[in-house]
């Protein structure tokens, strides 16, 4: 072991507190990096393996009804490798032990063979047998949420008749990795929505679809152009009521999974970058100071013939050891966190096998990152050590130049006690260092603000969607369009106070070459249960003339109010109309266009027909209402708003608790790292002066105040700066995550700000207390003796 190695060990031992603080910051960054990337890789790997093994389709299409003979023609289209036709229908389910009806998506699967595309992974029980027509497979999430098992019986209203289905197996499909009901749903509600696979013959017979299909999946041949296949399929299916084919990018489950993966990847770079940045700064601080205090030692070493390179390398090693120790800790914690995170994703995304694999590549990347951080952090210190001429270095560092602080020059010195003046002078003397410390702490605050603000945003969305826009007690959807008479029928049900019928039609809006598939929601003018409300709280009326579009959608299409757009009705008659954009509305969910119900009926050339209704319910009669709705053959889905909200809240509450704990940990580590390091360095720098002050009669409290006051001042400055920065980051995040479909509002509540302030202040305060205890143990007078 060389002398320099000895020195390294000694140096590390001497400043172990600071090193631990820096290592912790590094550990946090690395653990987040490793955890997120590992989760990302694991999910991506699981996804890819699952898709390949179960032959996930590439192009999907729904239609009204087409003869099965068409399957061969589709399969023969250029670019199509395999085609599979199915019958899919949503039905109302009577699940044992559940009061309200659930919705089941019945999907046909061949009885005699496995599906050619989107094969099922049977988790329990067995696959269907051709003998019994009532047997079904149930999706795992739905089965778990409703305590269903092999042998359970579920009642299903199929084609207006109650039928009992026997569960013979629990299964998963790559089509329903994320099992949501509609395209506008964000969270899965497995208690009330599930997928049920049923034999092709039985299902076709039940829906009078023998020899016909209403859903199509296609696997592409290698190298095929997806868009071309989509167009060919559209052309073929147009006369059968095709709703427009789409690729994986628009497949609900796949879209959610990929956007989640993309978000994970973004987070996996931003959060570690913040931590590593802080670590680099702290390392820089530590090394600069170490080089400063070790001037004489460096001079001696140089005098003994150690080259600049050797000395430089020594300090690089010093930085690397610190960072590496943090990285090691972070790697371990990261792998563990990554495993937890992956499993957490597994709750929402259903994979048959959820592999956890970090991979050598990730480890290598981590090491590289850590090495870069170490070198970057130690660069300035190393440089000054190397440039130091031995002769000059033999002399102690010249005292810093002091001058009155800005406040003093403004003439306020009389008001301030001398310790505070000292603090101010200290801060001003090293503006860059103060600024960086402040920035580090501010980033800690910002981390908290950003982390919490996503929940504030969800809260805001929730409040806007469920208390301002939607105020109905329940939404009832029918399985087909029915006469307006049905609204009187609903009004006569027990407990129904108010009924507001609506008509929903799938449409495609076009302007030039741009087109979007959206839903047209036709509402009654002066409706009070479901209103169109923009983000500023203005209530808009559904237009009697023209159509009301979402602002972002209008931008995407390139239309302004007053202009006309083409509108394809993707239902029954499938007419194309030209309609004027009456106005645009700035709302969160962008997939809906609005019209007044009568106007929509005229546009669709139909009578007073409705697709469902929003109802106000007397809570006392709710059970009776649920029972009545369960028995109605045409009621496909009933959603009670309070249950939807509760489901939302419980989903969020879980992730809120976990993420709050992690945020507090991270912010504390940052605050500790910055405050402790800065205070230690200040002590090292001003040890002599402080000792002198003590001798001059300053109390220990006042001396501590000088040391910690600087940190308190920096923390106090960092908090508002951090809040501002946090708001800015949150804004950019919401812009990044928002799409045409959803707009995530930026919301930072006072509670979030208070929380961030409190956490950082508490962390800094605890750190200060710890430091004060260390300070008390330190012999200040002894400090005067050294260095001579």
């Amino acid at each position: 072991m060389s002398t320099l190695d000895h020195k390294l060990l000694h140096d590390i031992g001497a400043s172990r507190g600071q090193i631990a603080a820096i290592a912790l910051v590094v550990a946090c960054g690395i653990s987040v990096f490793v955890a997120m990337l590992a989760a990302y890789r694991s999910l991506e790997l699981s996804q890819r393996a699952y898709y390949r093994a179960n032959r996930f389709a590439d192009v999907f299409a729904h239609l009204t009804r087409a003869p099965r003979a068409l399957e061969a023609r589709i399969a023969a289209l250029p670019g199509v490798a395999t085609a599979q036709v199915r019958v899919i229908s949503d039905v109302s389910l009577d699940v044992p032990g559940r009061e309200e009806p659930a919705t089941g998506r019945l999907v046909s699967v061949p009885e005699r063979a496995r599906p050619r595309l989107d094969d099922l992974s049977v988790r329990a029980g067995r696959y269907l047998q051709p003998s019994d027509r009532s047997q079904v497979l149930v999706s795992e999430a739905f089965a778990n949420a409703n305590h269903l098992h092999v042998g359970s019986l579920i009642g299903a209203v199929i084609n207006g008749r109650l039928q009992h289905l026997r569960v013979v197996g629990i299964a998963l499909s790559p089509e329903f990795v994320y099992e949501i009901h509609g395209a506008t749903d964000i969270w899965p509600d497995s208690e009330r929505f599930g997928v049920i696979w049923m034999g092709e013959r039985a299902l076709s017979a039940a829906f009078d679809m023998q020899g016909a299909f209403n859903d199509l999946e296609v696997a592409l041949a290698p190298g095929a152009d997806e868009q071309a296949v989509v167009e060919r399929i559209d052309a073929l299916l147009a006369r059968y009521g095709g709703l427009g084919a789409y690729g994986r990018a628009d497949q609900p489950s796949h879209r959610f999974l990929s956007s989640e993966l993309a978000q994970l990847r973004v987070s996996a770079t931003i959060v570690p970058a913040i931590f590593l940045g802080i670590a680099i700064f702290l390392l820089h601080l530590l090394l600069s100071r170490t080089v400063g205090t070790q001037r004489t030692q460096i001079a001696m070493l140089k005098a003994f013939g150690y080259g600049n390179g050797a000395i430089g390398l020594h300090y690089v090693w010093y930085g690397l050891v610190i960072v590496a120790s943090g990285a090691l800790l972070g790697l371990g914690a990261g792998l563990w966190l990554g495993w937890i995170l992956t499993r957490y994703y597994g709750v929402f995304f259903h994979f048959p096998i959820l592999r956890f694999q970090a991979g050598i590549g990730l480890l290598a990347l981590t090491l590289l990152l850590v090495a870069l951080a170490g070198v970057a952090g130690s660069l300035a210190g190393v440089r000054s050590a190397m440039l130091l001429p031995p002769a000059e270095a033999m002399r102690p560092q010249p005292p810093a130049r002091y001058r009155p602080a800005l406040v003093e020059r403004m003439g306020l010195h009389a008001l301030l006690p001398s310790p505070i003046r000292m603090i101010l002078r200290n801060v001003e003397r090293a503006p860059l260092k103060s600024l960086l410390s402040c920035a580090g702490l501010a980033l800690g605050v910002a981390t908290l603000v950003v982390g919490r603000s996503s929940f504030d945003a969800i809260d805001l969305m929730l409040a806007h969607q469920f208390y301002v826009i939607e105020r109905e007690d329940a939404t009832i959807a029918f399985d087909h369009t029915v006469s307006l008479r049905a609204s009187h029928e609903l009004a006569a049900l027990p407990g129904v106070i108010r009924v507001e019928p609506f008509r929903a039609v799938p449409i495609r809006v076009r302007k030039g070459h741009r087109s979007r598939r959206i839903a047209l929601l036709a509402l009654d003018a002066r409706a009070t249960l479901y209103r169109i409300v923009d983000l500023r709280g203005r209530v808009l009326q559904p237009p009697r003339q023209g159509i009301l579009l979402n602002e972002r959608l209008a931008q995407a299409l390139g239309v302004r109010p007053g202009e006309r757009i083409a509108l394809d009705v993707l239902e029954s008659a499938r007419a194309t109309r030209s309609v004027r954009v009456a106005a645009t509305v700035d709302e969160l969910i962008g997939t809906t266009a609005y019209m007044e119900r009568g106007a929509a009926a005229r546009l669709l050339r139909e009578g007073p027909a409705i697709s469902g209704a929003y109802v106000g319910v007397d809570a006392r009669e709710r059970t009776a209402l649920e029972a009545a709705l369960k028995r109605m053959p045409s009621v496909a889905n009933v959603a009670f708003r309070d249950r939807t909200i509760a489901n939302f809240r419980s989903t969020i509450a879980q992730s809120l608790a976990v993420s709050t704990a992690l945020l507090i940990l991270f912010a504390t580590v940052i605050a500790f790292g910055v405050v402790y390091n800065s205070a230690r360095i200040a002590l090292a720098e001003h040890g002599r002066e402080l000792a002198v002050l003590r001798i001059l009669g300053f109390t220990r409290g006042e001396v501590t105040l000088v040391l910690l006051g600087e940190q308190a001042l920096l923390t106090a400055t960092a908090i508002p700066a951090g809040i501002v920065a946090g708001r800015a980051i949150a804004l950019s995040f919401s812009a990044a995550y928002s799409s045409e479909l959803y707009r995530i509002p930026t919301a930072v509540s006072t509670t979030t700000e208070a929380f961030a302030t409190l956490v950082i202040a508490a962390a800094a305060f605890v750190c200060g207390m710890l430091f004060q205890r260390q300070l008390a143990a330190l012999d200040l007078v002894g400090a005067l003796k050294i260095g001579e």
Partner: protein, 449 residues
Amino acid sequence: MRPARRVLLIAVILALILAAAIALRRPPLAVESARVDRGPLLVSVDAEGKTRVRERYVVSAPVSGLLQRIALVEGDRVARGAQVAQIDPLAHTSAVAEAAAQLREWQAQRSGVATLRVKPESQEQARLRVESAIVAAARARAQSAGARAAFDQARRDAARYQRLAAEGAVARRELEQAQLRERTAAEEQAAALLQTRIADSELAIARAASAELRTKNRDPDYLEHVYDARIAAVQAQLDNLRAEAARTAVRAPASGVVLRLLTKSAQYVSAGTPLLELGDPRQLEVVIDVLSQDAAQIAPGDAMAIDAGAAGATLTARVRVVKPSAFTKTSALGVEEQRVNVIGDFDHADAGLGDGYRVEAKIVVWQRRAALRVPVGALFRCGERWCVYAVERARARRRTVTIGRRNDEFAEVRGGLHDGERVILHPADRVGEGARVDAREPAVTPEAR
């Protein structure tokens, strides 16, 4: 530290705490509110129905035959008794002629029957023969009676002469003469008796001959009856055919407008085929089918608001009758329900609607002109009772209220709230007792044009 500084420090700390408290204070919740007010409140049974012409006349083909194309179009006015359709009369007139010929034939046949009858002279002869036989018989019987009287006298004379002779009062010869006279009288009596029998049998023969003649005369009577019956039948048929021939011109049973043409083109129609519908569209009524449980609340005379859709103005009507019998109907949502037809008359004759138009009806079953009312959106259940959040000095206060009747917009307040008080509409779950609220009227932007 100097006292001044200490004061300053404390002041700064207090200011900071105050600032923090202000910053952390939750902003008042923005809520929508409405005023409890007095106004009209009506509770109605809402249902869908249709208009129909009050008196509808279905004109159908009175006779089978070839219908000529109907020249009328829907909407044409027709006066009572005007011809609306024509069924080709040719077939009917020829049938009449045929029946008349048949009648004449039977009449001729009937007159031929007289020739078959017995001549009256022979009948008279027979009668006379019978009469003379009767006379002869009577005479023979008289002669026989005379002979018997003579015989009796002779017998008594003979007896007397016997006794006398025995006594010896008369001569024997006289006795013998008497006895001879007795024998002669006996023989004469026997001859008279025989004569009577001959006369009787001759009478019987004459009678039999007369009877045979009478029987012979009765056979043509039967034929006459047959012919009379046939003639009556053909006569009836002829009358019927004549009436039918007259009915081939179809006439309007009442004045009105052609509502529907059921058979327009020339074609063969059988009797009873509906041809067109007549009615007066200004005389409309509405038929609303309501659920049987709702029908129980409806009474004749209840006001109805009728909305026919795009027409704009709401029309008023009044319930005339609630049908006493319900029927089963499968609803739009596939449920079998019992429904009752409620018939109403429009208040103003010309409703501007046509026959069979779809209408939305609100049948008012309860109303109050100045009820204290609260929007139903403000009500929520607290246990078994209804509650609202009233706004008092910018704070939400939970109140238990007593609710009377309600419709889908307002509820009648019977207690717990006063006129002019503000209540929170659709309170979110963040609104709680004592929460600070910023109550606003719902801001509705005018519809974009």
